[in-house]
């Protein structure tokens, strides 16, 4: 039941294979807006895609995006907030993106194949991490996120 990406160096083909594989594992998926990625619907809606490489190493990139409340924090405050979370936690990356959305991203790096256990553990871990972050920064995020 492994996801086998041997010889695939095309992001779109790799992501399509990943989506089919996720569905076979029982995950519910949806189309994502605008690009080759897709959404895994679980505790969170993770936008998932693969950055494939011709050397047969691949990166699964999972992103969760939150709308922000205009004016609650200035850009300067958001930048400091994201900088401080990046410094404190060692589980993912945090930024205010170009569309002024709060973006959280995790990566899973692997070679030719990905096994279901590692993928399930990874998704569970990033769900847990997200819950932890939202709890720890509740005062700021509840007010700042739409």
């Amino acid at each position: 039941m492994n996801l086998d990406l041997i010889g695939i160096d095309d992001n779109e083909a790799a992501t399509r294979s990943l989506r089919e594989w996720c569905q076979q594992l029982g995950y519910r998926t949806k189309d994502a807006d605008g690009d080759v990625s897709f959404v895994v619907v679980g505790a969170r809606r993770w936008i998932i895609g693969i950055k494939a490489d011709r050397n047969s190493n691949h990166r699964l990139v999972a992103t969760c995006i939150f709308g922000t409340t205009p004016g609650y924090m200035s850009k300067e405050e958001w930048h400091k907030f994201c900088n401080d979370i990046n410094a404190r936690l060692n589980i993912g990356k945090f930024c205010l993106n170009n569309a002024d959305m709060f973006e959280i991203q995790f990566s899973l790096y692997f070679l030719e194949t990905l096994n279901p256990r590692l993928f399930r553990n990874f998704l569970a871990q990033i769900d847990d991490s997200m819950a932890h972050i939202l709890k720890e920064y509740r005062v700021v995020l509840e007010a700042a996120l739409e």
Binding site: H79, N90, G92, K93, L96
Partner: protein, 147 residues
């Protein structure tokens, strides 16, 4: 011969650091076990510090390197904006300015019980290339802040 780095179901982070030090050295990497045993220094194109966060069935190897910037802290908002811009552009790791105003780069490799030499070598090269790419692409943006 099995050259994998095997952690089994251990969640002992310090034991993992010590084992990794020996394993990476056997693979030909220049490594230093820090005196407190919490990290391994590994020397490549850059000097990285490595530590672990392990749980049964899921291990995380966390790699960091730092670049000193000008300690004059008057322009910290500019540095935070730059770190945010870099995090928004790249999806290879995460980046920030720390309490000493050093620019920090962090990469996290998640794996199960074992790490193969092939995966480790590819990952380490990927991280080195990632740091180089960030530095080169943002050389002009860094200039006002660096020593």
């Amino acid at each position: 011969m099995n050259m994998n780095f095997e952690l089994g179901d251990s969640d002992d982070d310090l034991a993992a650091v010590a084992s990794f030090h020996d394993w990476a050295q056997n693979l030909g990497y220049k490594t230093t076990l820090r005196p407190d045993g919490k990290m391994v220094g590994i020397r490549g194109r850059y000097g990285f510090d490595i530590h672990f966060r392990n749980s049964p069935g899921m291990k995380r190897l966390i790699m960091r390197c730092y670049f000193p910037s000008n300690p004059d802290r008057a322009d910290m908002p500019g540095r935070f904006a730059l770190a945010n811009q870099i995090n928004g552009t790249f999806n290879i790791g995460n980046f920030w300015f720390d309490g000493d105003a050093d620019f920090a780069c962090q990469f996290v490799l998640t794996f199960e019980e074992r790490l193969s030499p092939a995966l480790w070598r590819e990952y380490f090269s990927f991280c080195e290339a990632g740091v180089s790419q960030v530095i080169q692409q943002h050389a002009e943006d860094f200039r006002p802040f660096m020593k």
